[in-house]
C-alpha cells in the first residue's frame, strides 16, 4: 500500500508539474474525462495516435523544408495538422510552437521555419517523454493495485 501511495503521490506531483510547466493544458483533462469503463485506454490510445501522427508530420516537415524550392503552403498544412492534433490532446507547448511556425510559414521565412522545426522536434520529444513517464506511472499504480488519482486542474 505504501508503494501505491508513493506512486500516487509521484503521479500527482508529476502531473501537476506538467500542467505547471505548460506541457499540458486543460484539453488533456478533457481526454481523461472521455475515458470510462467502456473506453478504459482512451487517453493512451489517443496519445499513441498523436505520437504516430506527429512523427510522420515532423518527418514530412523536415523533408519539405529540405527541398530546393520550399512549398510553404504544404509546410503550413503540415504545421496546421500538427497544431490541430497537439491542441486536441492538450500538448500546449507543441501547439504554441506550431503557431509560431505558421507565422514563419506565412512570411516564407525558411530560416525561421527551420529553427521552428528544430524547436518543435525538441518540444515534441519532451512532451512525449513526459507523457510516457506519466503513463508508466499510471501503469505502475494500477499494477500495484491502486487507482490513478484524478487530477483536477
Amino acid at each position: 500500500m505504501e508503494i501505491v501511495g508513493q506512486l500516487q503521490k509521484q503521479f500527482v506531483d508529476f502531473s501537476t508539474s506538467l500542467y505547471g510547466e505548460g506541457f499540458l493544458d486543460e484539453q488533456y483533462l478533457q481526454l481523461q474525462k472521455l475515458q470510462d469503463e467502456s473506453n478504459p485506454d482512451f487517453v493512451c490510445e489517443v496519445v499513441s495516435l498523436f505520437f504516430d501522427d506527429s512523427e510522420k508530420l515532423l518527418n514530412n516537415l523536415a523533408t519539405a523544408l529540405q527541398q530546393q524550392v520550399v512549398d510553404f503552403k504544404q509546410v503550413d498544412a503540415h504545421v496546421h495538422q500538427f497544431k490541430g492534433s497537439s491542441s486536441s490532446i492538450g500538448a500546449q507547448r507543441v501547439k504554441n510552437m506550431c503557431v509560431a511556425f505558421r507565422n514563419f510559414c506565412e512570411e516564407k521565412n525558411l530560416d525561421g521555419c527551420l529553427r521552428c522545426l528544430q524547436q518543435l522536434n525538441h518540444e515534441y520529444f519532451l512532451v512525449k517523454n513526459k507523457l510516457e513517464t506519466l503513463f508508466r506511472l499510471e501503469r505502475q499504480i494500477v499494477e500495484a493495485g491502486g487507482t490513478v488519482p484524478v487530477i483536477v486542474a
Binding site: 478533457q30 489517443v46 495538422q81 491542441s87
Partner: protein, 942 residues
C-alpha cells in the same frame, strides 16, 4: 474376213467365193465373225444347240421381212448374193460348154484332116490333138460338192505319134492306120467321157440347192452361231409389235411356254413391280422412234426380284412407220446389287466421315466449354476467397463484445455476405445440379429466422412502397434440418422476384405444415396449385388432427405449437421419440404484382428465360433465378409451382420435406435464446411469433417483429423521418439508373418510387452494402437512444481531417449520446449530404481538398435551389446525376436548413465573421471540449 484357206486346198486355187458366209453379204453380216468350217472338222459338231428357247412367230417374221425396211434390205442382200452365185455358176458352165464345143470342133477338124490325109494317101503329121479339160479350173463351186478340177480327166495333149516304120511303106501305112484307129478310139472314148461328164454335170446342176434352201442354210448357220454364242448368256431378246405383243422371244431360261408369250403383252404375262414400267418404256421408244436403254427392276412372281438392263429399238416399216420394237434385256441384278452396295458403302463412309468431323467439333466445343467452365470456376473462386474473408471476419466480429445495434448490423452483414457467397456459387450450383454433383447440406435451422432474415434483407434494400409480411404457422417446428443456405437462396430469390414485379401492395411469405404429398412427381412446375393451397389452408385451420399421421406430424405439431407453454415437458417427450421425423412445409411467396401471362408459364422455369424481351429490359435480371430455384427445390425432394393472375399477382409455392430432430431441440433453443437475449428484445418473441411485418416507409426497422403484426402508421415527413428514409434515399448503385429512368413515370407519387426498381438479385450485394452503411449511421443513433433513453435519432456529420481530432470528437459525441458520421473534407461532406440527410454538421474550416467554408456554401446553395449543380461545378463527383432530381422528398428534407457549426482554431484565417458569411450557423473553438460540444448539440438538436 475369216476366209482362211483350208490346208488341204490347193494353193493355186483362185476361188471367188470361198467362205460359207457371203463376203459382201451385208454390213450386219460382218458383225458375225464366222469361221469357215473345215472339211474335216465342224466346230459346231460338238455343240448341241438347244433351239428350244427360240420361239418364233414365223408369220410375223415373214411380215417383217416383207414389210420392214430392214428385213427387206436384209432379204435383198441375201437374194443378190444368191443371184451372184448363180451367175457365177452359169458363167462357169458356159465356159465349160465353150470349151467343149471348141474341142468338138477340133475333133471334127481332125477328123476331116484324117479323112483328107487318107484321101490323099498322104497323111500329114500326126495332128495336134489337144487334151480337153472338161472343167475349167475356175469351175469350183461354193461348197465342197462343187466340181473340182480333176487332173486325171485331162487328156494328155500334144502327143506326137511316133511311128517307127518307114514312110510310105505298107507297114508304114498299116501302122499309121492302126495308130489313127487308136486315136479315134481314144477320141471316141473321150467323147463318151465328156458325154458322161456332161450328164454328170447336168445331174449335179440339178442337185444344186435351190436359193431358198441355200439361204435357209445360211440362216441356219448364223442361227446356230447365234445360239452358240447366246446359249449361256443371261439375255432375253424379243420383238414386239406395235401393240406390244410378243412376236418373238429368245430366253435361255424360259419359264413360260410359247403359247404363254407369243401374242401377249408384258402386262398380260407378268404382274408385279417393273412390268408396267418396262411396257411403258417400250411404248415410249415406239412413240419416239428412237432407241433407248433403261435399267428396270422387276419384282414378279415368276422370277422374283431381278434387275434388267433393257435396250429397246424401234422397227420401222418401209413407209417409215414404227411397227414394233426389238428389245434386248440383260439381267444385271448382281451388278446392281454390287453397285448399290458400293453406293451404300460410299454413303456409309461419307456418313462416317461426317460423324467423325462432327465428333471432332463436339470434342472441340466440349473442350472449350470445359475451359470456360474452369475459368468461371476459377473466377468465382477468386471472388469467393476475399468475400469469405469478409464474411468470416464479420463472424469473428460477431463474437466480440457488441451492443445490440452492432449485433443487428452484423447479422444483416452476415446475411448479406452469405447471400453474395450464394450468388457467386449460383452459377456453379446450377451446373452442379445439372451434372448431378450438387450436395445438399443437412443442418439445423429455424424457419422463422430464415423468413425473418429474408424479409429483413429484402426490406433493407426495398425501394418501393410495399408491405413485406411473413406468416409462419404455429405448427411449423422451431427447428428443422435442411440445407438452409439453399432454402434461403430460394426464398430470397422468390422474394426479390416478387418485389421486382410488384409496384404496390404487398409481398409476403406464408409458411405452414402440409401433409406429405401423395406423389411429388405429380406436381409439374406448370401445374397450378390453387386447389392445393386452399386445401392446405383448410387443413391448418382445422387443426392438426387432419394431418397425415403417417409422418408423425401430429405429434410434431403438438410439440411445436405448445412451445410457448411447457416446452420442457414436450421436449422430454420428444426425446423419447424417434430421432428424426419428416415434416413437409409449404412455403407460399405471394405478391400483388403484375402477374405472369398464361403463355409465359411454360418457360418460366427455364434458364435465361423471362416473360418477354420487354420484361428483361424493364426489370433486368439474368433469368437464372427461377431455374435455380426449381432445380434446387426438386433436388431437395420437393416441388415448386406457380399460380398467377395477370395484373393481380403471383404465388410461388414450394413444398419441401424437412427432417426434424426433436431430441436436440430444447438444448439449442435455450442456447440460442440466451444468445439472442443479448440481442434485441424482439428475439424472444421471434422464437414463437410467426408474424413479421415490414410496412412501407418503415422498412428496415430492425425491431419490426416487436410490433407483432401491428401496422404502424406512416411516419410523418418531419424530423421524425429517421434513418430509414435516409436508407431509402441513399443513392443506389449504378444498376438503378436504368430503373430510375425506366420506371420513373410509373411511380404513383412519393420520392422513393422514382428509384423503384429493386435491384436484381445479382445486384443485391452493393445495395446491401449501402444499406449497411446507412444502417450503421442510423443504428448508432438508435443505440444512443436506447442507452441514454433520449431516443434521439439524430444524425450528426463531423467533417474533420485530423485523426486525433476525429477520435476525440467521436468519443465526446458518444459520451454525449450521439453517434456521428465522419468524413475528412468538404467534398466528402457534400457527397455525404447528397446521400443522406443530417441534423447537424460539425465542420472543420481548414481542410485539404475542400475547406469547410466552401462546403458550407455548396450545401447552402443546394438547400436553396434543390440542385447540386454548384457542387458539380466545384468538382465534386456526385454519385448519380439523376438522383438529385428525383428525390424530391429528400430535397424537402434537406432544404430545411441544416445547422452547420464551424470548428475554428481561432486563427486569423478562421474568423467567426467569415464563418457566418459563408452560411455557418455557429462555431466552436478548437480544441473542442465536452462542455462546448454539449452546449452546441443541445442548442441544435432539441
Amino acid at each position: 474376213m475369216g476366209c482362211e484357206m483350208e490346208s488341204d486346198q490347193p494353193e493355186d486355187l483362185d476361188v471367188v467365193l470361198t467362205s460359207m458366209w457371203p463376203e459382201d453379204m451385208n454390213e450386219a453380216g460382218r458383225q458375225f465373225n464366222v469361221e469357215r468350217p473345215g472339211g474335216d472338222q465342224d466346230m459346231l459338231e460338238e455343240v448341241t444347240i438347244n433351239k428350244e428357247p427360240n420361239i418364233v412367230d414365223f408369220q410375223r417374221l415373214m411380215e417383217l421381212t416383207n414389210y420392214s425396211d430392214k428385213g427387206n434390205w436384209q432379204l435383198a442382200k441375201l437374194v443378190k448374193n444368191w443371184e451372184f452365185k448363180q451367175a457365177n455358176v452359169v458363167r462357169l458352165l458356159k465356159e465349160e460348154l465353150d470349151q467343149l464345143s471348141k474341142q468338138q470342133q477340133e475333133v471334127e477338124l481332125k477328123k476331116l484332116e484324117i479323112l483328107e490325109e487318107h484321101r490323099f494317101e498322104k497323111d500329114g503329121y500326126g495332128g495336134d490333138k489337144r487334151p480337153i479339160s472338161i472343167l475349167d479350173e475356175n469351175l469350183r463351186y461354193l461348197y465342197q460338192d462343187a466340181p473340182k478340177r480333176r487332173k486325171d480327166d485331162v487328156v494328155s495333149q500334144g502327143e506326137i505319134v511316133a511311128i517307127d516304120a518307114e514312110y510310105d511303106s505298107v507297114v508304114y501305112w498299116k501302122q499309121r492306120a492302126m495308130h489313127l484307129e487308136k486315136l479315134l478310139e481314144a477320141s471316141l472314148q473321150r467323147e463318151q467321157v465328156l458325154v458322161e461328164k456332161l450328164q454328170e454335170s447336168i445331174e449335179s446342176l440339178e442337185r444344186q440347192s435351190t436359193p431358198v434352201e441355200e439361204l435357209s442354210q445360211v440362216l441356219k448357220r448364223a442361227d446356230n452361231f447365234l445360239h452358240f454364242v447366246l446359249q449361256n448368256a443371261p439375255v432375253v431378246i424379243g420383238h414386239q409389235d406395235k401393240d406390244m405383243r410378243y412376236r418373238f422371244i429368245f430366253n435361255h431360261f424360259p419359264t413360260l411356254g410359247e403359247q404363254d408369250i407369243i401374242g401377249k403383252t408384258d402386262v398380260e404375262i407378268f404382274t408385279g413391280a417393273g412390268v408396267k414400267e418396262s411396257q411403258d418404256f417400250k411404248k415410249e421408244v415406239l412413240e419416239r422412234g428412237l432407241p433407248a436403254k433403261r435399267e428396270i427392276t422387276f419384282e414378279t412372281e415368276l422370277f422374283g426380284s431381278k434387275t434388267f438392263l433393257i435396250y429397246v429399238e424401234p422397227v420401222f416399216s418401209k413407209a417409215g412407220e414404227t411397227i414394233g420394237v426389238n428389245y434386248m434385256g440383260m439381267e444385271v441384278t448382281d451388278q446392281v446389287r454390287k453397285r448399290e452396295k458400293m453406293a451404300k458403302l460410299r454413303e456409309e463412309i461419307a456418313v462416317q466421315k461426317a460423324k467423325e468431323t462432327e465428333l471432332n467439333k463436339t470434342i472441340h466445343i466440349t473442350e472449350e466449354t470445359m475451359r470456360a467452365k474452369q475459368m468461371l470456376a476459377t473466377m468465382s473462386h477468386e471472388i469467393r476467397s476475399p468475400l469469405s474473408g469478409v464474411v468470416s471476419m464479420t463472424e469473428i466480429l460477431a463474437t466480440t463484445n457488441l451492443d445490440k445495434e452492432q449485433r443487428q448490423l452484423l447479422k444483416v452483414m452476415l446475411s448479406s455476405g452469405d447471400l453474395v457467397l450464394q450468388l457467386i456459387n449460383d452459377i456453379l450450383d446450377l451446373s452442379k445440379v445439372e451434372s448431378g454433383v450438387m450436395k445438399l447440406e443437412a443442418a439445423k435451422f429455424r424457419p422463422r429466422e430464415v423468413v425473418k432474415h429474408v424479409l429483413q434483407t429484402a426490406a433493407a434494400s426495398l425501394q418501393k412502397l410495399l408491405t413485406l409480411e411473413g406468416h409462419v404457422a404455429e405448427d411449423v417446428p422451431i427447428e428443422v434440418i435442411g440445407d438452409v443456405l439453399r432454402i434461403r437462396q430460394i426464398l430470397t430469390n422468390l422474394i426479390s422476384n416478387a418485389i421486382k414485379f410488384t409496384h404496390e401492395g404487398k409481398v409476403g411469405i406464408n409458411l405452414y405444415v402440409v401433409p406429405e404429398p401423395s406423389d411429388v412427381n405429380e406436381h409439374g412446375s406448370e401445374k397450378k396449385s390453387r386447389d392445393q393451397s386452399t386445401l392446405s389452408a383448410n387443413t391448418n385451420g382445422n387443426g392438426h388432427a387432419d394431418n397425415s399421421p403417417s409422418c408423425e406430424e401430429s405429434e410434431l405439431n403438438d410439440t411445436s405449437c405448445d412451445q410457448n407453454g411447457d416446452q420442457m415437458d414436450q421436449d422430454k417427450e420428444s426425446r423419447m421419440k424417434a430421432e428424426e421425423r419428416i415434416v413437409w412445409i409449404r412455403c407460399d411467396v405471394y405478391d400483388t404484382g403484375i402477374g405472369i401471362p398464361e403463355h409465359a408459364m411454360s418457360t418460366l422455369f427455364k434458364k435465361y428465360m423471362q416473360v418477354g424481351a420487354d420484361t428483361a429490359r424493364k426489370y433486368g435480371g439474368t433469368g437464372l433465378g427461377l431455374a435455380i430455384c426449381k432445380q434446387l427445390v426438386e433436388l431437395m425432394g420437393g416441388y415448386l409451382t406457380v399460380s398467377s393472375v395477370e395484373q393481380h399477382g403471383s404465388t410461388f409455392t414450394f413444398v419441401l420435406p424437412y427432417k426434424v430432430s426433436s431430441a436436440s431441440d430444447s438444448d439449442d433453443t435455450e442456447e440460442l435464446s440466451d444468445t439472442y437475449q443479448l440481442g434485441d428484445d424482439g428475439y424472444d418473441d421471434d422464437l414463437n411469433s410467426g408474424v413479421f411485418l415490414f410496412p412501407p416507409r418503415t422498412l428496415g426497422t430492425l425491431f419490426s417483429s416487436q410490433i407483432n403484426g401491428r401496422i404502424p402508421k406512416l411516419l410523418p415527413n418531419s424530423y421524425g423521418n429517421n434513418c430509414n428514409d435516409l436508407l431509402e434515399d441513399s443513392p443506389l448503385p449504378c444498376s438503378n439508373k436504368e430503373g430510375t429512368s425506366e420506371e420513373g413515370s410509373d411511380s404513383s407519387g412519393g420520392a422513393m418510387e422514382t428509384a423503384s426498381s429493386v435491384p436484381d438479385i445479382d445486384n443485391i450485394r452493393p445495395v446491401a452494402q449501402q444499406e449497411q452503411e446507412t444502417a450503421s449511421e442510423c443504428s448508432s443513433t438508435n443505440r444512443t437512444g436506447v442507452e441514454k433513453s433520449e431516443t434521439k435519432q439524430h444524425k450528426i456529420l463531423l467533417v474533420e481531417d485530423n485523426k486525433i481530432n476525429i477520435m476525440v470528437a467521436k468519443s465526446m459525441t458518444k459520451q454525449l449520446g450521439y453517434a456521428i458520421d465522419v468524413v475528412s473534407n468538404g467534398a466528402e461532406a457534400v457527397k455525404a449530404l447528397q446521400r443522406s440527410s443530417y441534423h447537424l454538421i460539425l465542420m472543420d474550416v481548414c481542410m485539404p481538398v475542400m475547406d469547410g467554408l466552401q462546403a458550407t456554401r455548396l450545401i447552402r446553395s443546394f438547400e436553396e435551389t434543390g440542385s447540386w449543380d454548384e457542387a458539380v461545378k466545384a468538382g465534386v463527383e456526385m454519385e448519380t446525376t439523376s438522383h438529385q432530381s428525383c428525390s424530391t422528398s429528400q430535397v424537402e428534407e434537406t432544404r430545411k436548413r441544416v445547422p452547420i457549426v464551424a470548428m475554428t482554431a481561432n486563427t486569423v484565417s478562421e474568423s467567426a465573421d467569415e464563418c457566418y458569411a459563408n452560411g455557418m450557423d455557429s462555431f466552436v473553438s478548437k480544441p473542442i471540449t465536452l462542455q462546448s460540444l454539449k452546449q452546441c448539440l443541445q442548442r441544435y438538436l432539441v
